[in-house]
Symmetry: D2
Subunit: 290 residues, 4 copies
């Protein structure tokens, strides 16, 4: 199967690039803006003007080599703050832990590797550039729905059925995007909460994905997996299965609406995470090219 | 000329993807880390652990649907703050202004469009995905040097000479990366300050680039252009020419060392800026594929 | 009248200190905590652990003179962010502006004096230590109520009436605290919103206070003044009258519950604002001593 | 000796207030400003304009009850971030730990009580208002110096000698300020580093203070105690002795220059720490009144 990621060999990479046949590009990102919706447990995303021409004049500030500034050069910059899990993003492997030793993928214990300034290992600095075959599994499309109902659990049978219906065989190295339709209402998260929140992949679905050797997987939701969990005592089993057990990165808030509306099933997928040391993920602006 | 960007047509986009022939990828980014070197006028880049399994236990915090947590699920996240011009990045068109009305590209006055939370227009939200032909102009390589000397002004003749030596014709839609060699010492900015700071493109060089219709241009330095400026009364003439007059985005801190060491001159270039409203640029992790 | 502030002479200061006769102290502050209630237009108050013994061990960090650390010395610190108008606070004179030139007290125009990093003048750096006679005007107490009803406008007659009932003559240099009772429900701001929000001093009330030469005035609410405004076209007339026209600082979220419940009317009042350059106010922890 | 703190009884509090006899007040704080000097291990102190009249106009933002705004009301506010140990401040008891269990005062282990958002106990929320007898021990004055030399260790004999010379008996409940003279050069920390850094109280000095039952103690330096430590294997023994063993709060960067220059030895001392939950200290603006 011609799919590959940054870690694959040159032949695979070239084959992936050749997946683009029509020369049409899709932006799969959520956009980002001050105070945008996000998981409550993360800091609020903030954007503040940090430099402005008016401010530079008031402060008599002009830090450029002592040059005269007859042309009235000015510059604008910003201070931002927030979580790297804001908007469309990818989870690093250090993002989730399980067990009494708080271990993430590979057996690293958070108590050994999470400092005051993020994890020392398995952090965003280890996220590869992602170029590979993208596969969209449009679950509501497969079921004849616009959007999945609240709390709908996407199991192996739904993933397999959607793949079959699209004539796609999911395979090693694929980046599989699972559509619930929640982003049809984005960024109206109140409407999402009322009409369709919680739908997502369940543990069987996650196992179906890992069994096929996918490189990464994502969804158009905040949590990727079905909420509340169907596994008693395990609040986020798909996260633990994919990130911790299998080392498969999860992408969240990936906007699949245009792909679905154009009935695109396979495509060149590119995402370029920022390698921030101590980060537990990275915002990304994934693109699909067909 | 077979180069194109997101704004180009489908045929161009496909031709660009075909620039990759060997299936080898280069990561052109600087990396990012807490307190990493940056322009003094920007906020310091900060990374702090925001959620950790140990902290969750101490605080009795577990915000997941009221589920029991027999598997000891935990999560790690971070708070980051800083400027979007940290590490490898691209400048949005609202980043620089000139004239008594503080105008940026297109005549927008900062006093009309810069609010307390960034510019309302010409901001990072307008940055396109960038896929195109990348061209490396290795100036020290052309001159038989490892690194350009401090304050070396790269003029049209150097750019033209380096292109000729590489057998490349720079043309419309190209993304041109100009190498000074400063990143050979990255991130040792004290050494850069001592041995090679200030080298960069001068106004004539910038005009040479814009005359060829390049889509974007960048360098392996903090400021892209030569410092101090050679144009009396105009501290950053290349910025004003490219960003304000021509609408050509500037990329800074682009790591060209591996490309140069492999004598790569043309390549598929991909960068995917984050469309942050109110941002005046975006960190990027550009890749080259040959 | 024996009242004074830091600006008053030595005799006044001594007389103020002698207001304490019983040796009983009241803490008039709101407390502060992560994500505490605040005006929506301000940044959220954030507290994050920045140094911890566990983190120091993980990071191998110990920045103390290269000494061995046989005693396992560790330290804990924090990163905080937010507005200086969080919880109990005092407004600096640069906090509000009016007119087409955006002027604050004394005719300074914000366009001349507000830089990118706060106002250059009339900022928190100019806030004096406050030691003076405090006067509590308990309006619901005067009216036989527990708490004022929503949007209740406190006029001159209510202030005068409450002063008379308490046998107090408000005079020059006094720090007058006006109680609405809203903090009876603090920090349950949902209940405040439902049952009593918006009560506060109206423009006539503010004029009554300024006419008596008060040094500072405050209330147990977020906005000090009645909301919505009773003055058409002027959304916050008491702020403009007191801060801009009269140079009288306003204190907000001052907890008067204990004073009221003990029927205290006059007291030694002490508050020590932080002189933060560029700040437009300061959190304070005022105390009353009787 | 009639000294007391907030925890003392009414009689003591009144006696303290009577220490003021001349009606003269001293501001003992450092001031605060963006990027001010601080311990490298803490976040940089940042101040950014968050609301401004110009910004409000650009953004069409006016969140006041939907009222018309004929008077052009505007407001200015800020975003600040940093450590609570910036400038003049007081350490909470959770600030330092020792031993393999990382315990602070009273035996609390940081691993049990430091969450992701600060300590749950012994934090700034437990800091009392401080009103008491202040005592200045001017060590360079006692030794006939302007400023102590670099790394000068202030021992019990220096403290006792300075007290004797001033005719003061240090006693229970006192707030003792130890002057090294470093703040004579404040905020020129480069000069401090060159000429006088590191002077401070040694372990014997700290024991002398605790033996007298002082309520709090402070100095005009960043670290209070002598640096490097004179106790092998214990980098900050005075911190551990005072904060951890004795529960005596430490004040740092207290400006004693004016008191010393006026030969003031005893005074009414007032400081009002902000009770920030999760904080490990608080900036304070202490005053002395004589």
């Amino acid at each position: 199967m011609p799919t590959m990621t940054a870690n694959s060999g040159p032949t695979d990479l070239l084959r992936c690039l050749q997946l683009a046949e029509a020369g049409r590009m899709y932006d799969l990102s959520s956009g980002w803006w001050r105070h945008m919706p996000n998981f409550d447990g993360y800091p609020r995303f903030e954007v503040v003007t940090y430099n402005s021409p008016a401010g530079e004049r008031v402060e008599g500030r002009f830090p450029f080599d002592g040059s005269p500034n007859d042309v009235e050069f000015g510059y604008v910059s910003e201070l931002i703050s927030g979580s790297l899990h804001t908007g469309t993003h990818i989870d690093a492997l250090s993002h989730v832990t399980g067990g009494t030793r708080d271990e993430w993928n590979g057996g690293t214990s958070a108590s050994d590797a999470v400092g005051d300034h993020g994890p020392l290992r398995a952090d965003a600095a280890e996220l590869p550039p992602i170029i590979g075959r993208g596969v969209l599994l449009d679950i509501p499309g497969f079921l004849g729905l616009d959007v999945l109902p609240p709390g709908f659990a996407i199991g192996a049978e739904h993933l397999a059925g959607a793949a079959d219906a699209a004539g796609v065989t999911v395979g090693a190295g694929d980046i599989v995007l699972v559509r619930t339709g929640q982003m049809r209402y984005w960024p109206d998260v109140d409407r999402i909460a009322r009409e369709c929140a919680g739908s997502g992949v369940d543990l069987d679905g996650a196992r179906w994905l890992s069994a096929r050797g996918v490189a990464h997987t994502g969804a158009d939701t905040m949590s990727f997996e079905v909420r509340p969990s169907r596994v008693p005592g395990n609040p986020l089993p798909a996260h633990l299965h994919l990130l911790k057990e299998c080392g498969i990165h999860i992408l969240e808030w990936v906007n699949c609406e245009e792909l679905a509306s154009d009935s695109v099933s396979t495509f060149l997928f590119v995402a370029l995470p920022l390698t921030i040391r101590g980060g537990t993920g990275s915002p990304i602006r994934p693109i699909a090219v067909v």
